[in-house]
Amino acid sequence: MTNILSVTLQAVTPEGIIDRYPNSYNHFVLPFVIGISFILVYLLIGLVRVLYHLSGEDRIKLLKSLFNPKTALKNLKDIFCDCLLHTKIWKRKPLLGYMHSAIAFGWFMLIVLGHLEVYIFAPRHLEGISEGSLYYPIFYRFFIWINPAHETLRGTVFFFLMDFFLLYVLSGIALAMFKRVRSIALGMRHTTKPSLADRVALYSLWAIFPLRLLAEGFTADLSGGSFLTKPVNWLFKAFFGNELNFMPTWWAYSICLGLFFLAMPFSRYMHILTEPVLILFRNAGLKVRKPRKGFAEAEIYACSSCGLCIDACPMNTQKKNLKYSSVYFIRFLRRHNNKKINEIAEKCLMCGKCAALCPVGVNSPDIRRVQRETINNSVGYDYSYLKDYSDKAAAELSDKPRKSGKVLYFAGCMTHLTPMIIKSVEKVLKAADVEFEFMDKDSGICCGRPLMLAGKTEAARKTIEANKKIIEQSGCSILLLSCPICLKVFKEEYNLENIEILHYTQYIDRLAKEGKLILEKKEGSLVYHDPCELGRGCGIYDEPRNVLSGIGELKKAQKERDESICCGYSLGSLTLDEKDRSKIAESSVANLMANAPDKIITACPMCYKAIRSKADVPVLDFAEIISSSISGLKQNS
């Protein structure tokens, strides 16, 4: 700090850029160097650990995906859009999106441009650790002296860009500070409480950029600056008249950076570094296999603890249930708090809204399901009769004459509890002249999804095998389902080759489009409730709406499609009691009634029951309303 002005003229480049320090080193860089080294080592060890816990099969999958040009491109796009621009948050909450992209993208650009500057103007310092490549680009403005007479256009553009992105980041930081005080202004009703490490990281993060502005402001007359740093420099000169505050500011800047990196692995900010890893894993098609290791570990550390899932959770209708939100589940997993993990894992309705809205895309319901497996994955029942049953049922179905395009209808347990749906499906199929066979008219085997949701994967495998045999031997080419709960498991776990698996909303949409089903527009206003397993679970949002808009005026719910609110009767929760479910059903109905429709339509037997128990307007199943809208005239008759 004593001879800051003793500029040693050395290494003069043609542009008049001079290293102010002969060895390009000053003690103040130490905190930063310690921090960055720590985080790099930590990251490396973490990465090795996660990779080690992946199954061999998954590792090969991952490796292959990295060299597949299509996935590689998607990886790049996802990392850019999700980690830097935060497009997912932008779409739902623009102000919050701006805040995130300002900090992430702004900071990223500062780092990139900083390195680029060094690469262009002082390339020597990127050549190795001994040349200060670890810290030099970060503190470039400290180490350099630029002869004002030699300022080039290229240099000025960089000065401008650096200041511009600094301002961009600072605007994000200002919003972040404001959000701490008033989160609702940025569209968040609930946020999480930060832990100690979170606070250290948070306050250092807040301090880094204002300090950077100050520090670069002090040196703006030596190393150049633009519209932001230059005025700061003049201001300092006017106030202090000397440059003695120069060193402490650079020290503080370096200390804050160092602190941030040191606190990072223990704080929520680890998500910044983990998210790209998660994106690579996800795009490689990996699945969660263990609740705390491998893929799950990447998800756990990728969680930014932002708390968007608290607002998303349907259980948030009651404050006492906020603690079951995914963010806390992930937090307890990260801290190995086993007692709480299991309670939260079992409480969840598995509606998937937290995963759909998660800006990082953490699939918490999947981790909960795997966690449930660890609690109890025994079969528990005597399933030995399944073999005889499926042999007999398969023989009965395959006895019948085979035709191409045969439709096999599987109603499932839940539809059997709502016989009106079965009657309606039968009526619609008859009206469209569709010949079909009823796989479980008098008796049937569970599809396996409720067992899977309960973590009884072994038991589910047994029922899946039994059903699979019946379906494959039936010779059908379309498997028609009326229950979205079944649909999801048939699609994901059955691996039925050459058999199209369709939900009745999809099939009816197809029949209507093909002209086999002529529908009359005679209904008043309708609102459609997206069942969790159908919408978020299988991505079916448009088909039911296509058909419904043809028979009535389709009104919007307050929240719909992937933001739809679970009806509360989901089979996913193992411990949520009736009163809590009933409250959720009420909030779901209130959401549907936002635009005062005449009727509520849904396409899941569970939702149908739940909504009917709470709604004051008629609640109809999708097939039910279609069956009463069939026009007498048919094209092909």
Binding site: H416, L417, T418, P419, D442, S443, E578, S582, R612, S613
Partner: protein
């Protein structure tokens, strides 16, 4: 001057209380939303455990009402508390200034279509306990003898999912009574009762149960019905669990009677909301004390009788009506001494 007492609900509780208050010298105004007095009793055929005629019982209750002003097809349009009395505007335009009010709004039957898995309103052969009583009264039972008939106990009772964890108290005995009666009509039919627990708590109820087994050959199956489906020939395929033998069970029936339970009367609750009367979790009104003062509400001068404070049998309801009449008498004497 005679004191005015307003009674809301012209079922057995309201009628019995009205008759007693009339005899005690009050000016009683009894209002009933339906066309006729009697509530559910007016729709019933015979009563457990002895099979006495519902009509005769109702006639006996009606005979005592000569001095009572009865308004049928009348609702409370608005009601509010004045200084020491209640001001009610009735839907027929009359305004009543009552010194005390008795709520005897009773119960609504649980809407059996809510348990859709039992197929009420979907399959022809499925009916409720009330439908069967109506068929007995009006002699409209099908002439073609059903081969097999089932009774499902606890429909909308002791069922959290249906929104009512409480027992409705009367359905067990009603089911056993109806099972015997239907067996009398169709002696060759197989009759099944699907129950969770049989709560035959009253005098002679157990006798009725034994008689049903020994004399009528009713088959009692302990277990809930899970679902009802239709067979190809339009019969009912009932799936249940026999918990005594721990086996799933399937029977094909022609007629299935659902023992719909008791829910708080919606008409009564809407009056309660105007006065901010509190209800308990089950939706029935909360008494000021469930042990000592079941007829008293938390409002002075406002009383309860009958099933508006929870499921009750007919004799219980009548007892409560009489004691409510006494409570009202005591209240009026204590509070309006000077006049």
């Amino acid at each position: 001057m005679k004191k005015n007492i307003l009674i809301i609900g012209g079922g057995p509780a309201g009628m019995e209380a009205a008759a007693n208050l009339d005899r005690l010298g009050y000016n009683v105004i009894l209002i009933e939303k339906d066309k006729q007095l009697g509530g559910h009793l007016a729709k019933w055929d015979r009563l457990f455990p002895d099979g006495v005629s519902a009509k005769k019982t109702l006639d006996a209750l009606t005979a005592e009402l000569s001095g009572v002003k009865c308004f049928t097809e009348t609702n409370i349009q608005s009601i509010n508390v004045l200084d020491k009395s209640y001001n009610a505007i009735l839907s027929n335009g009359i305004t009543v200034l009552a010194d005390a009010v008795l709520m005897a709004s009773g119960f609504d039957l649980f809407k059996a279509e809510k348990k859709e898995e039992y197929g009420y309103g979907i399959y022809d052969g499925v009916m409720t306990n009330a439908d069967l009583e109506k068929a007995f009264r009006e002699k409209t039972l099908p002439s073609k003898a059903p081969k097999a008939i089932g009774f499902v106990h606890c429909v909308g009772s002791r069922d959290e999912k249906a929104g009512n964890p409480a027992c409705s108290k009367v359905c067990c005995a009603t089911a056993v009574k109806q099972a015997c009666e239907i067996k009398e009509v169709y002696p060759d039919a197989d009759v099944y009762c699907f129950y969770m627990d049989l709560r035959m708590f009253g005098r002679h109820y157990e006798d009725l149960y034994l008689k049903a087994q020994k004399e009528y050959g009713i088959r009692f199956i302990r277990g809930r019905v899970s679902e009802v489906a239709e067979t190809m020939d339009n019969r009912l395929l009932v799936k249940a669990e026999d918990t005594l033998s721990s086996k799933p069970l399937k029977v094909t029936l022609d007629m299935l009677v659902l023992m719909a339970g008791m829910r708080p009367s919606e008409a009564g609750r809407s009056v309660g909301r105007q006065l901010n009367l509190t209800t308990e979790d089950d939706g029935f009104f909360s008494s000021s004390d469930n042990m000592l003062a079941i007829q008293k509400s938390k409002l002075p001068g406002f009383f309860y009788a009958g099933a508006c404070t929870g499921a009750k049998t007919l004799p219980d309801t009548l007892h409560e009506a009489r004691s409510a009449a006494l409570e009202i008498d005591r209240y009026v004497k204590d509070n309006f001494k000077e006049q």
